[in-house]
């Protein structure tokens, strides 16, 4: 069995395990390459039909290509698409220009909290990968969150022999990460093999492409000539830059900016 088959099998096993365990399950879809791959795997796991809702946390600041892609494939794939927006915060004029940290908290974290409260989700499928970011190295496939969304990474059960702790006490939901063991390159290889559609922003135009997409206000393209999936894979073979290099809104950057501003460095 080749590597991609192994990755796919493991992910589909996790998705089915999650569907069996959770009363109210949803898949988070950011419309990026990873969560779109996740949906592709969900469709495979259930023979072409995703049997749970797909949740898009919409900050209203996404690229228009993202919205177009979302609507097109929600229709083509017959998804039960739920769009969650923190309308109160948007009405108050929250945006990244005033305060990036507040913007992310209100329009992403709080929008998700509201959606969980409204729909009563107890399990959420996410397309995160261990290699994306240092802190994600400690993630588990089944990862509990408390009511405040706090993740206590020092208190996690080991996940041996494919035994997953998929239940926890009371006021929590569990995040399930079926792509945790994939790398960025694995995703692109799989996209190529399966011919999974993706947002055009990932392709280089005028010497730039997005390696990671999100809000238009906080993402920057990286220098690149990679216009095809093959080019992208080849580029990843040699690149030493981090995948999220172009993401200004990484929480750590936002924190750093706040600190530096207080000291007059910004």
């Amino acid at each position: 069995m080749d590597k991609l088959d192994e990755l796919e099998n493991q992910s589909i096993y996790l998705i089915r395990e999650a569907y069996y365990h959770f009363r109210k399950l949803a898949a988070m879809w950011s419309i990026g390459k990873d969560s779109t791959t996740l949906l592709w795997l969900c469709r495979k796991a259930f023979f072409g039909r995703v049997p749970f809702p797909v949740l898009h946390i919409d900050t209203s600041f996404k690229f228009e290509q993202i919205y177009r892609f979302r609507d097109e494939y929600a229709r083509k794939w017959k998804l039960k698409l739920l769009v969650a927006r923190n309308e109160q915060a948007l009405a108050r004029g929250v945006n990244s220009e005033n305060n990036k940290l507040q913007c992310c908290t209100e329009l992403k974290t709080n929008a998700l909290k509201q959606a969980i409260a409204r729909h009563g989700f107890d399990g959420l499928l996410l397309g995160i990968r261990r290699d994306e970011h240092g802190i994600r190295a400690k993630e588990r496939y089944f990862s509990p969150r408390d009511g405040q969304f706090k993740w206590n990474y020092q208190d996690q059960p080991p996940e041996l022999w494919d035994q997953y702790k998929s239940r926890t006490a009371g006021d929590t939901h569990i995040r399930i990460h079926p792509l945790l063991h994939w790398t960025e390159k694995d995703v692109w290889r799989y996209v190529k093999r399966e011919d999974i559609p993706f947002v055009e922003l990932y392709r280089a135009r005028d010497g730039r492409r997005y390696r990671s997409i999100g809000c238009q206000t906080c993402c920057s393209p990286v220098p690149s000539q990679a216009a095809t999936v093959d080019d992208i894979i080849a580029e990843l073979e040699t690149s030493t830059a981090g995948e999220r290099e172009g993401r200004a809104q990484d929480k750590e950057d936002a924190y750093t900016m706040q600190k530096l501003r207080a000291l007059g460095y910004m």
């Binding site: 290099e245 530096l260 207080a262």
Partner: protein
């Protein structure tokens, strides 16, 4: 096992000027340090780095390298080959730091709160990052140490935002931060037989930033509070000395000096006025510039970049114009006067003078990208060095060129201090970068060849 006289302890006090230290000791406000001086000689002045920013200075200290080699030029930098801002940290530092070098020779090492060490690299011992580390769960190697720190209410840094609300609140916060730091220092000191133990106090820099002018003017409440704080820092040194006994070699050092601010100077705005920088219609950050029409732009403090064609993503200065443009910008900067007509800029240095004294121009952005070098650290084309009192900021859309805010003190280059017991850094003019050599020698570890341990006095040394 290493004998005591080969096990070095470093206590660093961020941003304490040599002159201030002497005055505080004379006035009896820092008796422990004064006693140490009586026994082991007066503190020496030490030069910092250019630009004079803590993370740059401590990275020079930790790597023994010039910024041209280690790649850290400030708390903010632009991403290589772009006009976007980013925040370099220890992950972007080229070359091993002291803790890593010493670990490689089997030494037991400890570092705490030294700027520029976050995210901590793995070492033979413990490395706890400092300012700009976002949380206790990520601050330390090994990560478990974060649990202990959390338990004692350790604070990575005092909250500078408080100072902008009220100086009293800031003082309270500084106090708590210092007492928890002291507790952690003693805890770790007793925990193991460290060959190299370096603990850092950041609060001295903070209190200087926000109170220096009030102290100079003898403010009735804030000046005494300032002196009290230094008294408590001295008490921390006393506890540390008591703990280590009299045999162990010791360094107490700072990374730069300080002087009161006369004006914060919004240098980006000046470049706009002089026609070098053209901002975008809506300015959302320090680099909101129109690259097609901006011949140059600047980052804090006084780092000027020429937008050279071929090197920059949308460069508009022809390479053959480069030297000429640099000269014109330097002339403009030297002509800058404050509202009272006093000159603002003392000198404008070229990148090769400061960072690549061997004659090379240093890496350019396109070469760097081709080599897959880190995303930051190409270095500025020119460095503007202000006269004391003129704190160079960015302020692309600032309302005024010259401003005054709650910041009262700014960094100075030539008056950091060095106080040593049983450690002998080179004679003559001393630069913070040279301490790495002295430390390695003290610990009988061979000094790697790539270190820049000769003093390179840039032409602005004299105040």
């Amino acid at each position: 096992m290493t004998a005591d006289n080969r096990r070095l302890v470093v206590l660093s006090l961020d941003g304490v000027p040599h002159g201030l230290l002497l005055r505080l000791m004379e006035q009896g406000r820092m008796p422990t340090l004064a006693r140490l001086c009586e026994e082991h000689g007066r503190p020496r002045t030490m030069r910092s780095v250019l630009p004079t920013v803590s993370c740059v200075a401590w990275t020079c200290y930790a790597t023994g390298r010039n910024p041209g080699k280690h790649g850290i030029f400030g708390f903010v930098d632009r991403r290589t080959g772009t006009y976007e801002l980013g925040f370099p940290n220890a992950a972007n530092v080229r070359g091993p730091n002291l803790w890593e070098i010493l670990s490689g020779h089997g030494k037991k090492v400890f570092g705490m709160n030294v700027p520029g060490t976050y995210p901590p690299r793995p070492v033979n011992g413990i490395l706890i990052g400092g300012f700009l580390a976002p949380s206790l769960s990520k601050v330390a190697y090994p990560a478990e140490v974060g649990g202990y720190l959390e338990g004692i209410g350790y604070r990575i840094d005092s909250d500078a935002a408080l100072a902008r609300q009220s100086k009293e609140k800031m003082l309270e916060d500084l106090d708590v931060t210092l007492s928890r730091r002291a507790e952690a220092i003693l805890h770790f000191l007793q925990q193991d037989r460290w060959d190299f133990f370096h603990a850092h106090i950041m609060g001295t820099d903070r209190i200087n930033h926000f109170l220096l002018r009030q102290v100079a003017e003898g403010h009735p409440r804030l000046a005494p509070a300032f002196y009290d704080y230094y008294g408590r820092v001295d008490a921390v040194a006393a506890r540390l000395l008591e703990e280590i006994g009299s045999d162990r070699p010791l360094m107490i050092i700072s990374d730069h000096g300080f002087c009161p601010i006369r004006y914060e100077v919004q240098l980006s705005r000046y470049l706009v006025e002089a026609g070098w920088t053209v901002p975008t219609e809506r300015v959302t950050g320090p680099l909101s510039i129109d690259p097609a029409r901006s011949k140059a732009f600047c980052l804090i403090p006084g780092r000027i970049y020429v937008n050279v064609r071929g090197r920059e993503a949308a460069g508009c200065v022809a390479p053959q114009e480069y030297q000429h443009v640099r000269q014109e910008i330097a002339d403009d900067l030297l002509a800058l006067r404050d509202p009272q007509g006093r000159p603002v800029i003392r000198a404008v240095l070229k990148r090769e003078q400061v960072y690549w004294p061997s004659g090379s121009q240093g890496p350019d952005a396109s070469a760097a990208l081709a080599l897959g070098l880190p995303p930051f650290g190409m270095g500025p084309d020119l460095l503007a060095i202000p006269h004391d009192g003129y704190d160079l900021k960015m302020g692309l859309a600032a309302p005024e060129l010259f401003l005054n805010t709650q910041l009262e003190g700014m960094h100075t280059y030539s008056d950091a201090f060095f106080l040593g017991r049983g450690v002998e850094p080179p004679e003559g003019d001393l630069e913070i970068r040279q301490l790495a050599g002295a430390i390695l020698q003290k610990l009988s570890v061979p000094v790697p060849q790539e270190l820049d341990l000769a003093a390179v006095a840039p032409p602005v040394a004299a105040a």
